[in-house]
């Protein structure tokens, strides 16, 4: 277990370094280089030269990377000249909002998808499995923004149950309008459920086909014992990994949803930065989200290792606890 942890953390560090290189690379990939990207297209050549000198951009690339990386590590994610704010400040304002939207949705999605997937697997190829499978299948195949706007059309415009626009303002202002959060959360949740329940159904079906299930049946175990005492745990531990792996997927869904509902989160920030070519902000978002994903999948792997005795014990060289 300890060896596994060390190995896995070392991997995560390597991935983080690569993420930072990618973001740094993207900044340099821009036409005109980072100075133009940061100062905007109207900067004069002398402005650019002064900026380059001030930020060490006239030095060789590795030195620039090192300069940039140490800055990032000390919390300096750059400065947005368009918004006249540090990127860190902009992100600090937005991150809790996106984390809230994504977090609530994922929790709800898991709470629904697990029983639904389990039910589907048990009722495999019966009429109700077909119905649920069809619904999730179609939902899975529908663009997330359309799901959101259909919900708006029905629940906001026609039935006037929930507001069509997400709450604005500070994080606490958002929390004080739970009603307005319903549709954004519902959108992300539905899209996520569609992906998850499909996975969970497959996962449970895979487990039900295992030899140990037949063995348990031969010992007189009924459907309930097999499902809850044997299959569930084995089928759900990969779900933990799934959660880690699908963080980018969930964040993509969140980004689209923020755009649909004009929800002031990280996604909307990234989108607006992209349209305004405010690259320091856009790349700041890329970096932060990349780091969050790496951390998320690391946590997921550790949780998986805790759940699966095969990983928990073998690498620790050990017998019983």
């Amino acid at each position: 277990m300890t060896r596994f942890l060390i190995r896995r953390c070392a991997q995560a560090v390597v991935v983080l370094v690569l993420v930072s290189i990618i973001v740094f690379g993207l900044l340099h990939l821009l036409p005109g280089g980072p100075a133009r990207a940061i100062l905007g297209t109207h900067a004069t050549p002398s402005n650019v030269a002064a900026f380059n000198k001030a930020n060490g951009l006239d030095q060789p690339v590795p030195a620039q990377y090192w300069h940039w990386l140490t800055g990032v590590l000390s919390g300096n994610l750059g400065f947005s000249y368009q918004q006249n704010q540090t990127v860190a400040a902009l992100l600090a304002n937005r991150i809790p909002k996106t984390a809230f939207l994504a977090g609530v949705s994922v929790v709800l999605a898991v709470l629904v998808a697990v029983p639904v997937g389990l039910y589907q697997a048990v009722r495999r190829n019966k009429a109700d499995d077909y119905v649920v499978t069809t619904v999730t299948f179609v939902l899975y195949s529908t663009p997330a923004f359309w799901v959101g706007l259909l919900l708006v059309d029905v629940l906001a415009v026609r039935l006037h149950v929930f507001p069509a626009e997400a709450p604005q303002g500070s994080f606490s202002a958002i929390l004080s309008h739970p009603n307005a959060m319903v549709l954004p959360v519902l959108t992300v949740t539905l899209v996520t459920i569609a992906a998850f329940s499909r996975y969970i159904r497959s996962s449970v079906l895979d487990e039900l086909a295992q030899d140990y299930v037949r063995m348990a049946r031969s010992k007189g175990a009924g459907q309930g014992v097999i499902l809850f005492r044997h299959v569930l745990r084995n089928a759900l531990s990969p779900v933990v990994t799934l959660l880690g792996l699908s963080l980018p997927f969930i964040l993509s869904g969140t980004l689209i949803t923020e755009q649909v509902f004009n929800y002031p989160g990280v996604g909307l920030l990234a989108f607006n930065s992209a349209t305004n070519q405010d690259y320091p902000v856009l790349l700041g978002v890329v970096l932060v989200v990349g780091v969050a994903t790496v951390a998320g999948s690391l946590l997921a792997d550790i949780a998986y290792a805790m759940l699966d005795p095969r990983v928990r014990y073998t690498t620790a060289g050990g017998g019983s606890r």
């Binding site: 140990y212 037949r214 010992k219 007189g220 175990a221 009924g222 019983s320």
Partner: protein, 330 residues
């Protein structure tokens, strides 16, 4: 103890039914070990599942299976559940996959006792430790809290056997229990079956494709081909005077010390027939060197000599039909 009469198992698929077991009858007395032998796909595993009440949904059993006087065919799922584990224990082929990877050994061995006898956790644990001791696991108490992956294949198979026998069932069905193990471990496990039978007195059904496994470890042999009985009898008589030509071919495919230098290891040419078709005649005829028109036309009736019986028109103890007779139709 176990009486099977006219058992048929059809597996219904979209492309028609597979007649996996056809008209099989056999009896096993308490404390007796019978070997069910045949190539893969001959229906021997399906027979085992039928006897354990474990047939998968599209399979339907007809005929009669009486265990200790009680009819199993036609029982509901919940009635069958009470039989499984309590009256019949099953050991499957692969000990690496037969155990739940995330459950401790103790819980898995004691599971049947808890389910069938309502034993308390502690009682099941104690019984499991005793059972692990009986099947020859060193330090049984300490094994209870281990996970399957911490044990070797042979040890895991002992755990599987222990969990199948914890309720002391009347019948143990072992489906290729040693196929996935190395040769030394195979011998140990087979000896273990012999010892357990003496101590617990259950009837054992040893399903295998390997005549060598049957030889030293069974009282009687039941040779199956294409879902049907080919030959039954005491192990000694079947090995000494095999009658069915299929049994002869199976015996020819195991290496014998005294003949190994004389003849190369024989293999049986061809493949077993498609079990979705209704067969006329002897199912082995297409692969049988001695097949005649009669073999292709009529399914052979049982010929019996005491406890030894076979279904073959041209048994090995009679002279082979002339080549003229064999080629008549083709």
């Amino acid at each position: 103890m176990l009486e099977v009469a006219g058992l048929r198992v059809d597996i219904r698929l979209r492309r028609g039914a597979v007649h996996a077991v056809q008209d099989v009858s056999l009896r096993v007395a308490a404390g007796e070990t019978i070997g069910i032998v045949g190539e893969s796909g001959c229906g021997k595993s399906t027979l085992g599942l039928a006897l354990a009440g474990l047939l998968p949904a599209p399979a339907v059993a007809r005929g009669s299976i009486r265990l200790g006087g009680r009819e199993l065919v036609g029982l509901s799922e919940s009635e069958l559940r009470a039989v499984r584990g309590a009256e019949v224990g099953v050991v499957f082929q692969d000990p690496m996959t037969s155990l739940n990877p995330t459950q401790r050994i103790g819980a898995q061995v004691g599971e049947a006792l808890r389910l069938q006898r309502g034993a308390s956790k502690q009682a099941a644990r104690d019984a499991a430790a005793d059972m692990l001791d009986l099947v020859g696991l060193p330090q049984p108490r300490e094994q209870l809290d281990r996970f399957p992956h911490e044990l070797s294949g042979g040890m895991r198979q002992r755990v599987v056997i222990a969990s199948a026998l914890i309720c002391e069932p009347r019948l143990l069905i072992a489906d290729e229990p040693t196929t996935a193990l190395d040769v030394t471990t195979q011998a140990q496990i087979l000896d273990l079956f012999g010892r357990l039978r003496q101590e617990l007195g259950m009837a054992t059904l040893l399903i295998t494709h390997d005549m060598g496994v049957v030889a030293g470890h069974t009282d009687r042999v039941f040779v199956m081909y294409a879902g049907r009985e080919a030959e039954t009898g005491s192990t000694t008589s079947v090995f000494e005077t095999p009658e069915h030509r299929y049994t002869g071919a199976l015996l020819g495919s195991i290496l014998r010390m005294e003949t190994a230098h004389l003849a190369p290891l024989a293999t049986i040419p061809g493949r077993p027939p498609d079990l979705t078709l209704e067969l006329a005649g002897c199912p082995f005829a297409p692969r049988c060197p001695a097949a005649t028109d009669r073999c292709r036309r009529d399914f052979p009736a049982v010929t019996a000599d005491g406890g030894h019986q076979w279904r073959c028109h041209h048994p090995l103890t009679e002279p082979a039909p002339s080549s003229q007779a064999r080629e008549a139709s083709s």
